[in-house]
Symmetry: C2
Subunit: 141 residues, 2 copies
């Protein structure tokens, strides 16, 4: 009985996150972006010039993943890389104007999807949901 509930939660979570990913993917395509790149840009909006290592920590993904994402974003003119002056090992990542211009449209896409996701869920329920998700998050770490 309990196991069944848990299992449905696992399955639901799986289905939901896959579905959200696909939906985001579709919306972001209009901006010439891939899923995940929005999160990287988000980090840069709240502070340019951080290192790939810092991005890797903030986005919870491995350094080679950052290398690839950064390469792709650079080729598309959204960011540029500059070697650190003090430490020649580190690369610092900066937004181009083109990259800065994406903040508004991306935030608007996020909001659109959030609204759709949380439709017909009350404020109290949203708060509860957030609490439960924070609990789950701390369970995993």
């Amino acid at each position: 009985m309990e196991t069944k509930v848990d299992c449905e939660i696992r399955e639901l979570f799986d289905k939901l996150s896959a579905r959200m990913r696909r939906d985001y993917s579709e919306s972001l395509r209009e901006l010439n972006l891939h899923v995940g790149q929005d999160n990287l840009l988000y980090r840069l909006w709240s502070g340019d010039g951080i290192t790939q290592m810092q991005l890797s920590e903030h986005l919870h993904c491995e350094p080679p993943t950052i290398t690839n994402m950064v390469k792709s974003l650079e080729q598309n003119g959204f960011i540029y890389r500059k070697r650190d002056e003090k430490d020649a090992r580190v690369m610092r990542i900066f937004l181009t104007d083109k990259g800065k211009e994406l903040e508004e449209p991306i935030r608007s896409i996020w909001q659109k999807h959030q609204e759709k996701l949380l439709e017909s869920i009350s404020t109290e329920e949203r708060l509860l949901l957030r609490r439960l998700m924070k609990q789950m998050e701390s369970n995993l770490f």
Copy 2:
């Protein structure tokens, strides 16, 4: 204020699903499996011999993705493919013994992760969580 809650839910959801994916990935590696392959096998346990098209619908992913997953699982000896006798276009997918043997260890991995995820969350809260997730799911479709 409301927007902030929504936004945190989006971010939390993102972080949680990425984290779960990484954790599953690590556990499944011991079985020589990749994340996602477990779900495909799960479908087959509840009924062998379905077509790639049916897999594609059940797993909510595109036919080329199924082609790739099936190819990889076949090369590793977990499944085999057989052309349909009536319709030469369709491929039917079957479990090998090696594939059938994975059911127990995979279920046990799932359960282990579910327990960790839902630790310290009461049965009432789990039920509520499930309801909210079902609501979100139907919002997206």
